[in-house]
Symmetry: C2
Subunit: 242 residues, 2 copies
């Protein structure tokens, strides 16, 4: 585990944070923590010179990123051959309202991960991925579900991208350092929070059935990223245990 704490992604012109380079981080710990705190990513890929930016749920295992979709989707058909891709996760934390437009900004934490995306074809790897697609978010839930049919497995394409390079970019300054702080102009940091809402139980769930323990981290009002990070750690521990 000490290796993991000190490991970093290689830095190249592709992932080097050039602008505001002091905001850049390349260590696995920082990059992975930001990825594991998110469910939604945007994936960029190219078809005939045209870039596409597609939102998707995703998850991580080690230095691999996974996402899925219908076997019929355009993105997945394109990526099946090992196409270059870029998966980005962004946490918007606040608007920084300084005393000039130029000094105004936003606090955010983002990761850009580069690699080649490929269709998962090995049946064992695919079965494991379909399991983690549920359990990474809701650890223990997959075992409670109606198992997948062969036809469903066939209809679900799973994509994997080994991270070749990645960078995290973090701004957390608010309006600190505004050169115009002496001017009598209102300035504030305006935070933004993504939180969990009230669970909407399906009316078809049998009366008397209680919300299962695997959903406990997803409590109303909690920051989504806390629940996701906690769920990820639990799923990782369960996978390591066996």
């Amino acid at each position: 585990m000490s290796d993991i704490a000190s490991a970093t992604y290689p830095v190249s012109p592709r992932n080097r944070v050039k602008r505001k380079h002091e905001r850049g981080h390349y260590d696995h710990e920082t990059v992975h923590a930001l990825l594991d705190a998110a469910a939604l990513a945007h994936v960029s890929y190219v078809i005939d010179g045209q870039p596409y930016c597609t939102p998707t749920l995703f998850w991580r295992e080690g230095t691999r990123l996974y996402w899925h979709g219908s076997s019929a989707s355009r993105m997945l058909r394109n990526l099946a051959d090992g196409e270059p891709a870029c998966l980005t996760v962004t946490h918007l934390d606040a608007f920084a309202l300084a005393r000039s437009g130029f000094s105004s900004s936003a606090d955010y934490r983002s990761v850009m991960a580069f690699g080649r995306a490929r269709l998962v074809t090995d049946p064992k790897e695919k079965a494991q991925a379909l399991h983690m697609m549920v359990d990474r978010f809701f650890p223990g839930r997959d075992a409670t579900l109606r198992p997948a049919t062969a036809q469903e497995v066939k209809a679900t394409a799973v994509i994997v991208m080994e991270i070749e390079e990645a960078s995290a970019k973090i701004r957390a300054a608010g309006v600190a350092g505004d050169p115009d702080a002496a001017l009598p102009i209102w300035a504030e940091r305006l935070p933004v929070h993504t939180v969990i809402g009230a669970s909407e139980r399906c009316p078809s769930v049998p009366p008397g059935m209680e919300r299962p323990a695997h959903l406990a981290p997803y409590a109303e009002g909690r920051p989504l990223e806390d629940a996701l990070r906690e769920a990820y750690a639990a799923a990782e521990a369960a996978a390591a245990a066996g």
Copy 2:
């Protein structure tokens, strides 16, 4: 204005929603409402065959999308020539926890907009864009700020992309339609909300100065998208009036 309500973006193989086509919308009203409810977008572009996915604040004027950055940034240098780009906005609304992995999903509202991104070079268009970069989010605020210097204007690159094609994709089903609804398995819709936090007044603001009225829509606990949509409408009305 009746034209606007009925206008739609052209549909081509690039923007047609192929998978789950019943979720696709192409009318300006739907597309623009989802754009105006967001501050954060992800922009995809290509350099030497490599796709990049970059998060950025953005805003809309009519059928044009604007974003900005340092004149030194890699993305902006690349887009200056009118490079093909794709700007995507995603609102994640809920996890849909059905009784199988296959039927589980997410509720979301997203827009993919395609066009060619270009650097804004006309001084008048750039001045207007730098004004809207503030006022689109906080209508009336720009007039209260320390004006931009010539050097700041030079250091800020503004990018514009005329939307050639766009599509919105909306899923709002929760766990309705789960074919396994008769099974005694827990199922729920788990909502996610992005809300405004408590304003963090800069300690340098003069004592006695009150939070200005242009920030009133950004009240603690309010959905961010409501405040953004309201601010957009106010900024649009002010621009039309003046």
